[in-house]
């Protein structure tokens, strides 16, 4: 029997889950809860109304942190990329800030914003800002000169040039950068919530452990984080299929 290609990964996951359940059942010492335990854990979270609340809290922080970073970093990156002198001035500073993990900012985030949403949003912002800035800068460098010259030839105003040539030309690369960066944001929010706030999926994980070693809830949180991360990536990926961006992903 030949299985449709799309079903193969699903089948593989099912097989893994079965092995997981068997392994857990044959070792009652329980280093991990079994998949059924995790399902019950998720059901427990839904029953208490926590699942939706925590997912919304995490997505809320990611949305704001990511959106603020995108609004600031993309125009700034495009401008710096366009004016090479600006880039040269900023470059050393960028290279110093870039390797600092966003998690290193946690104490400062709490010092500035206290324990709460703002601190978490700030951490996500920091985690997203530099990757987006660098993406935008390199996207400008990669615009073929011929598009720029063709745009200039038709006598566009600066505003028109930016909206009708510059943005469309960097669009495909920006989307790839945003996709990767959203992944980073989703990593950072979990860590930020373990320390800087009292809600969200990261808080769920650390709280489940601290408040009674509920490892079924810990793993439940991990599964939910993974699933939502997958959905976010899927959503960003669907932008790559928009017709006016698609040219950037195929060999021409």
């Amino acid at each position: 029997m030949r299985l449709p290609v799309q079903l193969r990964p699903v089948l593989f996951i099912v097989v893994l889950l079965v092995f997981w359940q068997i392994a857990v059942s044959s070792h009652p010492g329980q280093l991990l809860p079994g998949p059924w335990g995790v399902v019950l854990g998720i059901a427990d979270l839904i029953r208490h109304g926590l699942l939706l609340k925590y997912v919304v809290a995490s997505l809320f922080r990611v949305t704001w942190g990511f959106a603020l970073a995108a609004i600031l970093a993309i125009p700034l990156g495009l401008t710096l990329g366009w004016y090479r002198r600006g880039e040269m001035a900023f470059y050393p500073l960028l290279q110093i800030f870039r390797p600092i993990s966003p998690l290193a900012w946690i104490p400062i985030a709490i010092l500035w914003f206290g324990v709460g949403d703002l601190a978490a949003i700030f951490l996500i912002f920091v985690g997203c800002f530099f990757p987006l800035l660098l993406t935008a800068m390199s996207a400008v460098h990669n615009i073929p000169t011929v598009y720029i010259n063709a745009g200039r030839n038709f006598g566009l105003s600066t505003a028109d040039f930016v909206s009708r040539v510059l943005y469309p030309a960097v669009g495909p690369q920006l989307i790839v950068g945003m996709r990767i960066t959203l992944g980073i944001a989703w990593l950072v929010v979990v860590a930020a919530e373990m320390i800087a706030v009292n809600s969200g999926l990261g808080f769920l994980i650390i709280d489940a452990r601290n408040a009674g070693n509920r490892y079924d809830l810990v793993v439940a949180g991990m599964v939910i984080i993974g699933t939502i991360g997958l959905l976010l990536d899927f959503g960003m990926r669907s932008l790559e299929r928009v017709k006016s961006f698609r040219w950037g992903y195929s060999e021409d």
């Binding site: 011929v146 010259n149 063709a150 200039r152 038709f154 006598g155 669009g171 017709k243 040219w247």
Partner: protein, 262 residues
């Protein structure tokens, strides 16, 4: 006496496009390299000029200077007596490759320079040029779905749509296969004969030059100077096996130093 009438580059006649003592020097790593030297040209309104020369001699540099994309180190370019200070929609440059915007459809590309126009006017203009370059049925296609020849026709249509006085073409058919290239020459001539723009066409293809041009400007190797200007006095449509055609072609090959010597 040779049948070839050699016209001296600096004719005293006032033309549409004039380059006067154009020079271009590039500075790189502290050394300066002269690319263009004392180029003087005069192009009449509606004339079809082909520019040929050895590869790397500076043909594209000259074209970019004429079109205003780079400022010459010395000398001036004037159009209708007005000094060219930068690119201008009255003079459109058609690039060899990738010149169309891949994020716009055929219609979007042709209408790119027409944003000031009213919707209906714009629609009409786009439809007219879609027809002229024979892209009917592809109005909503993206360039990635077009062949190389269609993309170049699209670029020509986008250029013509803004009603330019001068069309600069930088080896526009250089990346096409030889059959498509021959077809495109015919198309360009047809368009030129109906629209009567001034055309300045850079090519490395001697046959292309002799088939298309009213006059062929021959550049020397770097630093490029105007080596010669040949008038092609054969009416269109040109018979490419006529003795006159072959003779002009040989003259041009001789100019470039590629003549057949038994």
């Amino acid at each position: 006496m040779s049948l070839t009438e050699v016209v001296i580059a600096s004719r005293p006649v006032e033309g549409k496009l004039r380059a006067e003592h154009l020079g271009m020097v590039f500075e790189r790593d502290g050394t300066s390299m002269s690319v263009l030297e004392d180029i003087t040209l005069d192009v009449a309104d509606g004339e079809f000029i082909c520019l040929v020369g050895p590869s790397g001699c500076g043909k594209s540099t000259l074209l970019n200077a004429l079109a205003g994309f780079v400022a010459p180190t010395s000398g001036t370019v004037t159009v209708d007596g007005e000094v060219v200070a930068g690119p201008d929609p009255r003079r459109i440059l058609v690039f060899q490759e990738r010149g169309v915007f891949p994020w716009l459809t055929v219609e979007g590309n042709i209408g790119f320079g027409l944003s000031e126009m009213s919707r209906t006017e714009r629609k009409k203009r786009i439809a007219h040029y879609v027809q002229m370059v024979r892209l009917q049925g592809f109005e909503n296609s993206y360039p990635s779905d077009l062949s190389g020849g269609m993309k170049q026709r699209l670029q020509v249509a986008r250029a013509l749509a803004v009603n330019p006085d001068i069309l600069y073409l930088d080896e526009p058919f250089g990346a096409l296969d030889s059959i498509t290239r021959v077809i495109m020459r015919g198309e360009l001539l047809r368009i030129w004969q109906t629209e009567r723009r001034t055309i300045f066409f850079v090519t490395h293809d001697i046959d292309e030059a002799v088939q298309l041009a009213d006059r062929v400007v021959v550049l020397s190797s770097r630093p490029a100077r105007v080596q010669d200007v040949l008038s092609i006095d054969i009416p269109h449509p040109r018979n490419i096996s006529s003795p006159r055609y072959l003779q002009l072609r040989d003259d041009l090959l001789k100019q470039i130093g590629l003549a057949y010597t038994p």
